[in-house]
């Protein structure tokens, strides 16, 4: 099964890269883009018995390595 892990900076944390990307989009004329938050995306192929187990392992990986809990939060999708 595949777990998709989306890691993003917490809303309270300033994102200099996202802000720069937003400014670039504005320079391209996309005035409608109000804000950009940049993050990371991981695809984990996980061999486990159930969807719950895949989700549990992906969350463990995110807690221990993929995300830094001081500045980031994450969301997991399993398929």
């Amino acid at each position: 099964m595949r777990a998709r892990v989306f890691v993003t900076l917490k809303p309270s944390v300033f994102d200099p890269q996202g802000t720069t990307v937003a400014e670039a989009l504005h320079a391209l004329g996309y005035a409608a883009v109000k804000d950009v938050r940049q993050g990371k995306y991981f695809e984990l192929e996980i061999d486990a018995g159930s969807e719950d187990e895949v989700r549990r392992l992906a969350a463990e990986a995110a807690d221990k390595l993929l995300a830094n809990p001081v500045i980031e939060s994450y969301r997991i999708e399993v398929s």
């Binding site: 944390v13 300033f14 994102d15 200099p16 720069t20 390595l65 001081v70 500045i71």
Partner: protein, 237 residues
């Protein structure tokens, strides 16, 4: 005394640190590979600058799992002096040996320049040879040195006098313009609660000889020598 300089794949200031403590300060030093499991009897440990593991994932995120880090943690927990410089500071943050995290610089640029750094506290093994309020001219070279911690953590750090270096003007004033990367509270360096683990973004090892533009960084490395010589490790405090 003897320094251990830890070498991760991608470290690039390891030789600068080695040069500063041996050729300039006249101390003994040994390189320790990140897969080693011994600090070779060192009295102090330096985690040098660079790009450990290519900065993959996050700065310091992979280095924290290197086998030598178990020894570094043990050494730190026993009160031994540990200095993380730039990427070494980032490794200490990821390893949880110091609180907080690094964000991309506010400018989104790699900042490589001399800055002014004020010594806030002198009761650590890496500031004992400095004067309180002394303003040092030391270079920075980083893309991710924008120190961040939750407000309650920052408050705790300030209360515990754990902020030991701050970006200031040459006159020692804390201003927004003197802050090269956006760090909260102009924080350039921290120490642990026990005060023996120190991390800073500026590179003292690159400012140890006048022909290099400044010798102000020497006071930081010399502090370790003084501290070890006096047996005044922070463990006692």
């Amino acid at each position: 005394m003897k320094f251990a300089v830890v070498v991760f794949p991608g470290s690039n200031c390891d030789h600068d640190a080695y040069h500063a403590v041996t050729h300039v300060l006249g101390q003994d030093a040994a390189f320790v590979w990140h897969k080693d499991t011994s600090l070779k009897g060192a009295d102090a440990v330096i985690l040098p600058g660079g790009f450990a593991h290519g900065d993959y994932l996050r700065t310091g995120a992979i280095a924290r799992f290197s086998p030598i880090m178990r020894e570094v943690r043990r050494f730190a927990e026993a009160g031994g002096p540990v200095l993380g410089i730039c990427n070494g500071f980032q490794v200490l943050l990821e390893a949880g040996l110091l609180p907080g995290a690094m964000l991309r610089n506010r400018s989104v640029a790699f900042q490589c320049e001399h800055v002014w750094v004020r010594v806030e506290q002198t009761d650590t093994p890496f500031t004992v040879a400095c004067r309180q309020g002394q303003v040092l001219r030391i270079p920075i070279a980083h893309g991710e040195g924008n120190y961040y911690a939750e407000p309650d953590v920052v408050e705790r750090l300030e209360k515990g006098r754990q902020v030991i270096f701050r970006y200031t003007t040459a006159a020692g004033e804390v201003t927004a313009d003197a802050n090269p990367n956006g760090s909260v509270g102009n924080i350039a360096g921290l120490c642990s609660e026990r005060r023996n683990v120190v991390g800073l973004m500026p590179h003292p090892e690159r400012a140890c000889e006048l022909p290099l533009g400044s010798a102000d960084g020497l006071a930081i490395l010399k502090s370790a020598v003084t501290s070890v010589a006096q047996g005044a490790l922070a463990a006692a405090r």
